[in-house]
Amino acid sequence: MPTNKDAALRAINKPADLGPDLDLSQYSRNPRNWEPCPLSNLPKDVLERALEVGIASNKENRAASFFQIDHSVIFKAVQDAFENKVEIMSAKEALEKYDWLKDCWWKIVKVDADKYTALAELAWDQGYFIRILEDQQVTIPLQACLYISTDNLNQNVHNLIVAEPGSEAQIITGCTIHSGVRRGLHVGITEFYIKEDAKLTFSMIHNWAQNFDSRPRSGAIIEDNATFISNYMSLKPVKSIQMYPVAYCKGANSRVRFNNIIYGSGNSYIDVGSKIILQNEGCRGEIISRAIATDKAQIYARGFLQGERGNTKAHLECRGLILSDEAMIYAVPELVSKVSGAELSHEAAIGKISEEQVQYLMARGFSKSEAESLIVRGFMDVSIFGLPKDLEMEIQKTLDLTAERAL
């Protein structure tokens, strides 16, 4: 039987279907060495950057934390109150601990999908394993940070998340870099298993740099009556991001929702989509995306809905705001129905800031620029994420912080 490694070796030169093709040899594989330490002992600049992507150093605010810098796992711990409710560890450790994990590894995302998945197999640099145990309701978020401290580094993580039956949790993942890092490549594989009656809200925030490339590859399987909510936010300039995560609604009455907020500035090339495959009776899916393009940014906002069973329903809503004549937004909504009972719909709208809205706010005393930034911030309103109030406020804070600088 061919191994994952064999398959990866065959795919290592295979370009991805979408996004600029990257020369993998241009990135360094020599990370800085980091010793494990408590989060609060990390340098202040690291903690500040982490905070911007939703990562708290105060452990009371998180049920469990995982922190990786470059290729080293420097922290992983479950808060006392959540022992025996959740597990968090490096993916390598988890694969050694649980034999059954092998059957979940490279099962949703294919190892030979393209050169980036292949790279993640052949040059694998940790990543996290998070498991919410059966019937456990985890009331405060878990967090995972993937941080790059070395310029031009290539970091390849492979994460695996299991929400056991009847469990409920929220995970914040922040991917970011040190302020001195200009270039680099982050490849992140994430496989999600959402078991029967489980509910998982996964919020990922990316903060990269103008010459940095990122190629996340994610897939989720959602079982009977389970719910998966995936929130994605990217607000900083980037050289290129290309990702097209897929959720398989495998179980009856399973639910999935993707919410994306993208602010593209500088020369960013951002190709972000979401795919939903409705495979069972009663499945529901929704994709909501907000894209703002300014400067010379190019944003491709994709959405793909596929109905394979009757009595299923999914909707795709894509809104784009263009703030510069040199920017571009390309909305690509795709619907595929293979049966008569799958109800699929989409709406897409791209426009500039409405003069009428600006004037209305000016008639409430705001200056023109205040009115415009209010509209832009409103456009990126995280309440579309449908998060619990406290988590929403936290993420809104992150967004405000970034938006303040961006606008």
Partner: protein
């Protein structure tokens, strides 16, 4: 304090090259409430947009003096900050911009907002809603009146506060407008004058084809309009024009 809160002198306005206001003259003394009548399309809302300074309403001639200051060339927000507050007839909805956020800008006084919400019978949940998004006709009016009263400027303009509102809400709006307008200066636009059941106005003007056709006591003008419709005013305007031409 100048005698007039608002003086409009020989104001002519075009939108996309089309004349929509023609030699309008209007004075509203401090502390008076005036009413502006007019048929649909006569230029009532255009006059408001021009007073506020909306850029697509291009002033061809004339000027606007507010509280002694020539505001003809000021940007919208500066006029508002001088004390002009408008409750719009059809305001746009804005995703992600909360009513509460706008109110916080208009006044730091939370108690005042709560008091107004109570008087308007407007549920506080609306503060968390995206402004005007999915609001009913009555809710839009309440939200507009709430914003205007929260700011508490010197001069209030209400653009058809009585259109598209059911009797119940009209009574609520009429009551609070009456109360809040005590001793203040205001211009109220109305098509059919329903709001006048609740408000005592000092003077009424009729706008026909972009110009003020006549000015008189509100009860007298409303009576004529209710009896004869705006044809009476059109006749009146014709007479005046002819007189002018003679």
């Amino acid at each position: 304090m100048p005698r007039n809160i608002l003086e409009i002198e020989n104001l002519s306005v075009e939108v996309s090259g089309k004349r929509i206001l023609d030699d309008v003259n209007l004075q509203i003394p401090n502390g008076e409430v005036h009413v502006l009548f007019g048929p649909n399309g006569s230029g009532k809302s255009s006059l408001i947009m021009t007073i506020l300074g909306f850029p697509s309403f291009k002033i061809i001639s004339g000027r606007i003096i507010f509280n002694g200051v020539d505001i003809t060339d000021l940007p919208i927000n500066e006029r508002v900050n001088l004390g002009i507050n408008v409750a719009f007839q059809n305001p746009p909805s804005i995703r992600g911009v909360k009513l509460g956020g706008i109110l916080n800008r208009l006044t730091p006084d939370k108690e005042k907002i709560n008091e107004l919400l109570m008087k308007l019978k407007f549920p506080p949940e609306f503060l968390e809603r995206d402004i005007n998004l999915g609001f009913s006709g009555g809710e839009v009016k309440k939200s507009e009146v709430l914003q205007v009263l929260a700011h508490g400027g010197k001069f209030i303009i209400l653009d058809e506060p009585d259109s598209g509102v059911d009797v119940m809400n009209l009574r609520i709006l009429g009551g609070i407008i009456k109360e809040e307008l005590q001793g203040r200066s205001a211009l109220i636009i109305t098509h059919l004058g329903v709001i006048l059941q609740y408000i005592n106005a000092h003077m009424a003007h009729v706008l026909i084809n972009g110009t003020i056709a006549c000015s008189d006591s509100p009860t007298k003008i409303l009576g004529q309009i209710l009896n004869e419709g705006y044809t009476w005013c059109e006749k009146c305007l014709r007479t005046r024009t002819q007189r002018c031409e003679l």
